[in-house]
């Protein structure tokens, strides 16, 4: 009897053991054959602009982003100007849209220099969770047209905008960003600006710079961000009158909105105004308060 039981049990155990081993080896084989699931990293930044400069982000599929950017006067104007709230203020209204979530078009109008702008932005490479692509790379091309009158024409007798093309300038950027963790994202952007018309014979129409930015997420809704533009090329003999653009920002995300409270030394909002021609100096306390609001509409 015992012998019969042993004879029955041993094959069963052998079968079970063998089956288990086979299952394990099949799973191992599957693991070996199936590469780890690779997903795109999302929300490197929460908005297509950090403060004045563009991030690698594009708006979502079929999403329209209505943006309002506002800058007040200088804080060091004191209580007499209510720390800049009396102005002079600068305002940009913009609309940005993407159909597929990667190619984005945008238009806007800024009060300072009565500047109209349009841009094309394409999210070329996307960072993946498995690091097969370690960075997100976005290409950006902007064009600006000023509708301003030339205030100096009254006494020089020469009109700056004799040719329409003199009103135009351009910005080209390669935006490279990496989200290092859920909290920290960094971006570098080699930048080239082109001005169709510059003032002096010794001035350069092309200028090169590097824009750096960082975002540190404090909690689910809020993040601290900062950006800085290094002017690399010697584009003008008067460039020492101007300063590198820098800004810090508290970013608050609510449903469908991104609200950014900004401290910056740049009165301008667009790249062609801020990178080369920021007049104020952080070290002298020449900073101004501002805010950006982004409101998303799914169309």
């Amino acid at each position: 009897m015992i012998k019969k039981i042993i004879i029955t049990i041993i094959p069963v155990i052998c079968f079970l053991f063998n089956a288990n081993a086979q299952k394990d080896s099949m799973l191992d084989a599957l693991d070996r054959q199936t590469p780890p699931v690779s997903e795109y990293v999302d929300a490197t930044f929460k908005s297509s602009r950090l403060v004045n400069f563009q991030t690698v982000e594009t708006t979502g599929k079929r999403t329209l982003d209505f943006r309002i950017s506002h800058r007040f006067g200088l804080l060091n104007g004191g209580i007499n100007t209510l720390y800049g709230l009396d102005g002079p203020a600068n305002l940009r209204l913009g609309l940005e849209y993407s159909y597929d979530g990667r190619l984005q078009v945008g238009i806007g109008r800024t009060a300072y220099q009565k500047m109209y702008d349009g841009f094309l932005k394409y999210k070329w490479l996307r960072q993946t969770t498995d690091n097969s692509m370690p960075v997100t790379v976005t290409l950006l091309s902007c064009m600006y047209i000023t509708a301003d009158k030339d205030p100096s024409a009254a006494f020089t007798g020469f009109y700056h905008y004799q040719y329409f093309t003199s009103r135009m300038s351009y910005n080209y950027q390669l935006l490279i960003a990496r989200k290092f963790s859920d909290h920290l994202s960094l971006q570098l952007a080699p930048t080239m600006l082109h001005y169709n018309l510059v003032e002096n014979i010794t001035d350069q129409n092309d200028m090169y710079s590097m824009v750096g930015m960082a975002r540190y997420k404090i909690n689910k809704r809020m993040a601290l961000t900062g950006e800085y533009a290094w002017r690399i090329s010697k584009y003008s003999q008067t460039m020492s009158q101007y300063h590198n653009s820098a800004a810090i920002c508290l970013e608050i995300e609510t449903g469908g909105h991104v609200f950014q409270i900004v401290l910056t030394n740049s009165y301008g909002i667009l790249e062609n105004q801020t990178i080369a021609y920021t007049q104020n100096d952080w070290l002298k306390g020449q900073i101004m308060l501002g805010f950006n609001i982004g409101r998303f509409f799914t169309l």
Partner: protein, 123 residues
Amino acid sequence: MKKKLLITLIAGMAITFTLNSCYYDQFQELHPSLNTACDSSAATYSGDVNKIVNAYCIGCHGSSGSGGVSLNSFDNVKAAAANNKLMNALTGNGVPSMPPNTHLDDCKIGSIRHWIQSGMPNN
């Protein structure tokens, strides 16, 4: 396929438009006589100072007088010049530099300085 074609088309149009409208002009080169056009030593109120104020200041410092400074008349401009508010603002001396978004060139500042040093006449 359609999407790629659309992206190529848009990018192609943008590049073509950009290259066609790209110039390398310098204002001084377009107008060589510009360098001799400004003579700050002959500056007058009506010919220079008032034009500069109207072009660069009056937008904010008109009748409403942003920051309590109004420059909408000869008397107001003269008062701001007499108590050094005007030159301090133009040179950023102890107060925020004005205009807030640009630098006046040396010739324009020199014209206003000359007019002040000449006793601020209404000429």
